[in-house]
Structures are given as structure tokens and as C-alpha cells.
Symmetry: C2
Subunit: 219 residues, 2 copies
């Protein structure tokens, strides 16, 4: 363990932890994030925490408040609209690129991950759902060979995470749709366009859910 810990710098570890906290909604929209709070919570030094916060801020996952504090941003309807536009452009494209590079081994792996997604939905475990859903999408996207697009998708998911968690927790994970079967069927059939459409539908559905929650004033 000491060998591992020594290799990977503390600020990377700290960044990863903070990122997951936001990505998987362990921090709520609007919640303030303080350096000293994270120092205690993550048991890290001040410098690594500062750097992690700056990185998240640069990615739009944290929002400077003018007074030198930062907080988890609220997803306003206007922001959601912009987010939707880019996600619906970039992620189907990623699916298309990945579709052209799929291997049987990768499809198997995606099936296994989707199994975990299903299990999480059936069991009503929101955190597991969010993590395995994320894993499914990015295991696919990574196969695209387009790291810049993957980076952009990642930063968009970060802005999405906190609100999605709230919505899931509200409706319960059992109500969540799983469009991954559609995607997997297209993969098996070698239907690249169909895969892109399935991913598009999946994303659209997630966006619609958040939009509905917004209109209902729930977030």
C-alpha cells in the first residue's frame, strides 16, 4: 500500500475524491465547498485541496461565489438547455466512433456493467446506479479513440451529477429507465447508427427527467 500511495501524488488522489463527490452527487446543488472542510473530510493537506478545487472550478463543476468561496452550482433551466445541446451532440458522436471500434470483449464488459446497473435499479440503490451508469457510458466512450470528446463529456457529466442525484433520490432509483439494452442490441448487430440513437435517447431521457423536476420546482 505504501508503494501505491507513494507513486500517485496526493493532489491527484484528492482531486479524484472531490470529483467523485460531485459526479455522484454526494454534494448537493448549492452546497458551499470550503478548503478547510475538505482538508478535514478528506484528511489531506491544504495545497492538494486547493488545487483540486481549482481544477473542479476550471471544469465548471464548482462555481466561485465572488466572495472567495465556491459552491456546487445549481442547474438552472438555461444551463440545462445548453448542457443538453452539447451532450446530445458530443455523446452520440462518441457512441458512433466507439461503435466502429467495438470488440466482443468490450461488448461483454459493457453487458456486465449493465448488469450492475440493472441490479442497482432493482435494489433501489441510487449511488450504485449512478456509478455503474457512469461506468457504462464511459467504458463505451473510451473506445472511441477521441480523448478530447471524452474530456468534454466528462466535464458535462460533472455539471449534471448533483442534480441527477437529487432527481434519482426523489423519484427512487426503481423508476429509472434503462436504455442500455437498446444500445447493447445495436452493438451486437453492428448497427453503429442505431447505437448512436440509443445513446441519444438515453441522454434525452435523463435530461427530460431533470427538466420535469425543474418545472415541478423540485430542484
Amino acid at each position: 500500500m505504501d508503494d501505491e500511495t507513494r507513486k500517485i501524488p496526493s493532489h491527484e488522489v484528492t482531486y479524484g475524491r472531490l470529483r467523485d463527490m460531485i459526479l455522484f452527487g454526494r454534494l448537493e446543488p448549492g452546497q458551499p465547498v470550503t478548503i478547510q472542510g475538505l482538508v478535514k473530510e478528506l484528511d489531506a493537506g491544504m495545497t492538494p485541496v486547493r488545487e483540486a478545487i481549482r481544477r473542479m472550478t476550471a471544469e465548471g463543476a464548482l462555481l466561485p461565489q465572488g466572495n472567495r468561496r465556491v459552491a456546487v452550482p445549481n442547474l438552472t433551466p438555461a444551463l440545462l438547455e445548453q448542457l443538453a445541446f452539447v451532450r446530445l451532440t458530443v455523446e452520440p458522436k462518441l457512441a458512433e466512433l466507439a461503435g466502429a471500434a467495438l470488440t466482443p470483449a468490450l461488448i461483454d464488459r459493457l453487458e456486465a456493467i449493465d448488469g450492475a446497473v440493472d441490479a442497482a435499479i432493482k435494489g433501489g440503490r441510487v449511488s450504485d446506479y449512478l456509478e455503474s451508469n457512469h461506468a457504462f457510458h464511459f467504458a463505451l466512450y473510451e473506445a472511441s479513440g477521441a480523448p478530447l470528446l471524452v474530456d468534454i463529456a466528462r466535464s458535462l457529466w460533472l455539471r449534471f451529477g448533483p442534480s441527477l442525484r437529487v432527481v434519482c433520490a426523489r423519484y427512487g432509483a426503481t423508476a429509472l429507465p434503462d436504455r442500455h439494452e437498446e444500445a447493447l442490441a445495436a452493438m451486437r448487430a453492428g448497427d453503429v447508427k442505431g447505437l448512436a440513437r440509443a445513446i441519444e435517447n438515453d441522454i434525452q431521457q435523463g435530461i427530460d427527467q431533470i427538466r420535469q423536476a425543474q418545472e415541478a420546482g423540485e430542484i
Copy 2:
């Protein structure tokens, strides 16, 4: 001056300076960026410099080298292709949104900026061209009311900057096209779609130039 300097934190200033160095190509692709080098060059403390570097890294404007150094990334053909895809999606959209919100005052301002672009081209001043060209685009984009899209455009320009500078310096600024007249004409005519097309052409042309330089092995 002390009032100004005290208000805006040092790490913000440092970040802004480093960002401009990359955005306007004062750092070449492949060039290593060191903390201590920037500490001396920008006359800043170590922490602000570290944070600026982390932010730029998070935006993809600097690339970690594995050994804990960072450098200005080279724009490979594969990256350029991904970059082109997103820019050609996001920036025409920004132009379209901005087109619906244009005021005569803003058009006047854009005309003035375009005058500076022209003057820089005629005078062969590459730096001035890059800065006023950037100013033109983002003055327009800011009017879109879509800050998330503007953020994305900004990060894409950052990845573009260093290579664009090399290309401009090679071909000379006098050879640079200026599609802004087309855009301004569309603005005056209230032709939103035409404005979006003009911006799309402008971007496409810049991308083509870099692509040609890549194929010629010049960058």
C-alpha cells in the same frame, strides 16, 4: 492601483496571464512549462502559479507529461479533427443565439474590433491579429446569453492558440482571411442564419489552414 490589485486575488491575475500566454501563442507547442520558470517570469508566488497551471491543465491547455512536468500540447491531426467537430457545432450555435440578441451598440463595437483586426492584418502584426480576432469572436459570443457554451468555446480556443500562432507566423498575417465582413453584413441585415454560416466559414478556414500546415509537416 493598489485598490485594484488588492481586490483581485493574485492567483486570478496569474491565471489570466498564463492563459493569455497560451491563447495568443506566446508559448510554442511542445514547450515545457515549469512552475519556477513562471514564478520568475510572472513575478508571482509559487502557489498562485501552481493553481494557474492546474487550471490550465484541467482545461486541456497544458498536458501532464507523466513525470510530473507539464508542457504545451501538440495539436495532432486526430485532436484537430475532434476540435473541429466541436467548434463547428458550438460556435455557429453561439453566433445564432447572439444574432437574436444583437443591439446596434454591439454591432458598432464589433465593427470597431474588426477594424483593429484589419489593421493588424495589413500591418502584419500577428499578435495584434490574434488578440483582436479573439476579441471579435468572444464579444459576439458573450451576447448569446449562453455562458456554458462560451466556456466550452474558450477552452477549445485555448487548445488552438499555440498552433494557430505558429501557422500565422509562418504564412505571415497578411495572408490571413477576414470573414468578419460577411458576419457583420449578416448582422446588419438581421440575418441570424447567415451570421451563423459566416462564423462557421471563418472557423472552417482557420481549421483548414492548420490542417494544411500539418500535412505539410510544418507543425
